[in-house]
């Protein structure tokens, strides 16, 4: 669950609950979307997708092809020719799904090869994925294929790797909303080592992106079933910031570790009762530092800081907690010492990393 859906005690907000109820209602009548994601063309997405359509057709589902690529490898063409098609209408050289005809035909399942087309000006909808949205809304299931480079949020990354990115795209949120995402993985076959490097980077990104989608689905599933469990499939590092802690070093290390694990970074602090003006400004400074490291920042309330931290960690599936160890003498040392002991004693299922100061 994203942190912004939680109130300060880590419970779900009414807005979040409402969203879930609405999502459940939508899901009941909506068609299911399954996306076949590849990292480049030629990895066999279309084949996998049409092969599934063929098998579902053989098992008695009512399947219609609404969009196929203009040129297909023989094995794909063979399957497509055996299935019923509602051909896309070509306007200005651009194939547009015949949404009205599909709606009128009302199949159980519709196949759309290539999700990222822009429809020509004057079309009912500007993008093909919006046509797909109409089909889903009407309760028709959709199988669709897509390459990583066509996800809008990946354009910058793809341009960084290959030098170019397509003009067309599908928003990440559309992929996130899919009921199922399949990664079609094949090792890169490249003529040059530079090209192999590019393909490898795209492949890694496609795998991690799908893993993230899967992770969010897992969370949603567990949440729906009231299960709270740290699965640790993705590393989530939370840096605990206290006004006096050296947050700079912990945040920098947290960022580096999160990056190496392709994980997430969180930064939390607990509002202490009666903070001094110095405490307040130190805290503000730490929050700025944490934002600069692109951490999810949360301020927790509570008389029991350790309890609040641990509850937050459980709710957010934290796997590693970074804390500072204050070695200065005096009552604060004794306090810090005992708090640290309690944290270590009670942080079941978490790694606690103590930083020197």
């Amino acid at each position: 669950m994203p942190a912004d859906e939680l109130d300060r005690t880590g419970r779900r907000s009414p807005e979040a609950l409402l969203k879930h109820v609405q999502a459940a209602e939508r899901a009941a009548s909506r068609g299911t979307l399954k996306v076949f994601l590849g990292y480049t063309s030629g990895v066999g997405k279309s084949f996998r997708m049409f092969d599934e359509a063929r098998r579902r057709h053989e098992r008695g589902q009512d399947v219609v092809v609404a969009a196929a690529q203009p040129t297909m490898p023989p094995d794909v063409a063979e399957i497509v020719s055996a299935l019923e098609s509602i051909p896309a209408r070509v306007t200005d050289g651009i194939p547009v799904i015949d949404t009205d005809a599909v709606l009128a035909r009302r199949p159980q399942l519709c196949v759309v090869d290539g999700l990222a087309y822009d429809n020509p000006p004057g079309s009912s909808r500007a993008k093909r994925y919006l046509d797909v949205e109409v089909l889903l809304h009407a309760g028709i299931g959709v199988l669709a294929s897509l390459n990583l480079e066509y996800i809008e949020e990946q354009h910058e990354f793809v341009r960084g790797v290959t030098g170019t990115a397509p003009a067309e795209g599908v928003p990440q949120a559309f992929i996130d909303g899919a009921d199922e995402v399949v990664i079609v993985d094949a090792p890169p076959e490249a003529a040059t080592s530079a090209h192999a490097q590019q393909l490898s980077l795209l492949r890694q990104r496609a795998l991690l992106l799908t893993a993230d989608v899967v992770d969010r689905q897992l969370e949603a599933f567990l949440e729906m079933h009231g299960v709270r469990q740290t699965w640790g499939t993705q590393e989530r590092i939370a840096v605990c910031m206290t006004p006096r802690a050296n947050a700079t070093a912990m945040l920098a290390s947290g960022r580096r570790n999160a990056d190496r694990f392709h994980g997430e970074l969180f930064a939390i602090c607990v509002n202490q009762p009666n903070p001094t003006p110095e405490d307040k400004s130190a805290l503000a400074r730490n929050v700025t530092l944490a934002r600069a490291q692109q951490a999810h920042v949360d301020i927790l309330e509570g008389k029991d800081p350790i309890g609040a931290i641990l509850e937050y960690a459980r709710t957010n599936g934290i796997t590693q907690l970074f804390v500072g160890h204050n070695l200065r003498k005096g009552w604060r040392t004794r306090l810090t010492g005992s708090l640290l002991d309690r944290l270590i004693d009670e942080a079941e299922g978490l790694d606690v990393r103590v930083f020197p100061h």
Binding site: I183, Q197, S200, L207, W231, D341, D351
Partner: protein
Amino acid sequence: MAGVAPRGRLKVFLGYAAGVGKTYQMLTEAQDLHAHGVDVVIAYFEPHGRQETIAMTDGLESVPRRAMDYRGSTFEEMDTDAVLRRRPHVAVVDEFPHTNVPGSARAKRYEDVHLLLEAGIDVLTTMNVQHLESLNDQIWQSTGVRVRETIPDWVLKQADEVVMVDLTPRALLNRLERGVVYSPERATAALQNFFKEPTLVALRELAMRQTAYAAETRQQDETRQAARTDMAVRADERLLLMIDPSPASAALIRRGRRVADYLQAECLAVYVSRTADLSDLTPDERDSVERQLNFARGLRIESRILDGEDIAQTLVAFARLHDVTQIFVTRRTEGRMAALLKRGLVQRIVGLAHDMQVTIVADRSRRQTTRA
């Protein structure tokens, strides 16, 4: 031709459960190679009674398996010597993490595969992500299944290619219900154990991350080779794992190995004893420490025993001498008295190691499932 054949290439088809199509995809590739005139043989294939998969072996040569008697039963294993004599260009070896029946020349199938690779034979093989050693505790925690047949992470790291074989959990569960994966009675049992949707989703996510990680490390290796930097990369971090006789140490070692791999850090393990001959331990504890140290060595962690009157001081001095940046210790010790002593020890280590990080590792050898 003179000289030694170059090492064969290892390609792993990685999945997350039985029935996702690993073997099918591997055989598809074998058929493809065969069609292109490459000399491919099936060195080991596990049919599991799956007709579509069995059909994919049509037209491919198989090297007969070797029958082995063990305790009155007959087991069939890959006949590694026969494959070596046959000397194909590519060998198909199903189920990479398999443990050979006792009495075999090698304990593990991956050791047999190693021999084939050394002989210059390319190998295609299959495995599920849950068999990876460093994930063992995590898998146990989330599924309640302790996977016994494990593969050390460095073995998978030697693969030239790791390909993810993906099938959505829903599709897999459909296949299971249709009886494609297992016989009906096995399917019912499987649905109650491993094949629960959240479990499958979690394993699938792990497989994706593992595949991405494999691609990333492979690419880094190639970049290094291209730059012709023969020098080992100087790790900017060094981890020191503090082993004790408790069972939690195995989880500490696995976790340490995994963190070290991801951080590209070096990793050491020590047991600190008050006496050089471990005479302060009971025979059971001594065995346990030896087992843990050997387990660490099996994961390619340099391991040794230190001795010193003051355990915390000995540990931290060693760490400082070896430029350790992070010390890993276990969290819990059984028994109240031991727990208090342990707490004191951790406190002392944290206090002494003022120039290092100290990580108190979660006890992943315990299960904890809570309902909200």
